[in-house]
Symmetry: D2
Subunit: 177 residues, 4 copies
Amino acid sequence: MTTQVIVLNGGSSSGKSGIVRCLQAVLPDPWLAFGVDSFVAALPARMQGADGGITFAPDGGVSVGVDFRALDAAWIEGIAAMAHAGARVIVDDVFPGGARSQQRWRKALGDLAVLWVGVRCDIAVAAGREVACGDRVQGMAALQAHVVHEGVGYDLEVDTTHTESLVCAQTIAARVG
Amino acid sequence: MTTQVIVLNGGSSSGKSGIVRCLQAVLPDPWLAFGVDSFVAALPARMQGADGGITFAPDGGVSVGVDFRALDAAWIEGIAAMAHAGARVIVDDVFPGGARSQQRWRKALGDLAVLWVGVRCDIAVAAGREVACGDRVQGMAALQAHVVHEGVGYDLEVDTTHTESLVCAQTIAARVG
Amino acid sequence: MTTQVIVLNGGSSSGKSGIVRCLQAVLPDPWLAFGVDSFVAALPARMQGADGGITFAPDGGVSVGVDFRALDAAWIEGIAAMAHAGARVIVDDVFPGGARSQQRWRKALGDLAVLWVGVRCDIAVAAGREVACGDRVQGMAALQAHVVHEGVGYDLEVDTTHTESLVCAQTIAARVG
Amino acid sequence: MTTQVIVLNGGSSSGKSGIVRCLQAVLPDPWLAFGVDSFVAALPARMQGADGGITFAPDGGVSVGVDFRALDAAWIEGIAAMAHAGARVIVDDVFPGGARSQQRWRKALGDLAVLWVGVRCDIAVAAGREVACGDRVQGMAALQAHVVHEGVGYDLEVDTTHTESLVCAQTIAARVG
């Protein structure tokens, strides 16, 4: 069965973006890549830090409002439609609600062939990479590391603590049909 | 009738991106924004400069291959699905094939309420802004300025030659239902 | 006399960066370009929003602390040294203290041949460009537009309200010895 | 003796930038950071890919011309002047000529207290990170990995193959006077 969508879920600074770029490089077909970062970039600038939008607390906590949720739901439908229209798509996301977040994706992706991938990273290492990136809200990695995986079902999991992005990508690519 | 999608079409460096950000700021509802730049960013890096992908000639000419076209078609379907799912969406695109490119969008957008906007700019001014941006392929603005509008039907047109992005956005916003 | 340094001073969103890139394109010799943005990027991330560092108020006000000032003074000495070592250098800055800020540069630049350029822009237009940029603190343009020019002496002034960056750059380049 | 300048030398994708950001975070004083990337960003756009400037070959080879060298020499003088003026400065560079490149820095830095740091990374790992970054010229990491260290003297060396940026930074910080 041909994999149509790869969904990567993991906390902030767990290494999803690097894996996505490596997947696009090692997979023989061209895959589109979208993710939480490109979604946030598509929002009006004023929704950052606003009621209804997305707010980053000093401790790294993230809260999203009703407008954010509505647009996010429509965005997920759009990603599903791209795959239905024949594009192979890699998505990286942060599931704030764990299993509940996965359920939203499952419902939208319907009968598409999806490879579910969990991206893990030791909290201390992820927090260190948060510092190394320079533009991340400190504390987000620690807050999200476990909660995003709660109750989520995966086809495979990778751990970037001691494994390079490219190696993780090769492991994932070996499972792509 | 409530406008569901705003499509801006114009050549490289005609000022689309600035208008999009102003539209997101002045429109009372939150609108998602996608465009040719975010689409290209979603492609595998190796498709830039490759057969099948997108190639920029030294004179500013752009040519796209069969893989690019297929993914682009699926991306358009995805944008339409986001709007059908309730998101209000602004798209900025470059119609390389003029009327033919518009026809692709029309077919995908179906019965959605679309506001078609042409973005014009004098060639010499657009070429100058290409220099001011620093990261643009020189010559692209001149090559695209006219051809992208050939045979395209608009609800309104704006011209950034002597009019600021914000003023163009206000003109467009006044036409949004 | 050969111009060794070009200093552009103007408020936020007055159009300095575009002029700098155009100057680098139109001047026959290669000029290095540094500015307030590259200086801030060289600071530790933690100095943004911190005592001693640089703070952006919600109304667009900017305040800098003692650490910022000390590093800024050393940075200015470094720019002067590059010019003394033979590099031709373009600097774009915001003179928060008007004449006092210019005096700091004058002292550091000593006997170097400097072309002082004021970059003006109508407040309403600059505020609109702030919106079009998408990543600017709103209100900064209006607060800085006049105060940065108070008591500052220029060799020439350009106004980006109705004049493109490239044309401003050509005007400046014509005065470069 | 108070360290005034930290110079990090290592090949492309060896992990210098992440270490620099972590150093700025862990060192108690504010340090300015400059490097080969910020230097290249200060050059006219037209010097990329041009005679006299900097050229990237398809195999990852980098060659620089006479204009690049002259501006680079002046830039080094400027960095030294910033340190002489009291700023503590971290520099990350790629020494294309190994010992010869170090000699240029030694001469400019004179009697400043410098901590020389070599940044190593296994070639295969660095090449993988090149892919994960997405915007790097492939092959550069492998070509530079060894040659940049030839004959260079260090106060300490770090290896990012199995050690995180933050840990490398802490090791370096422990040696800062």
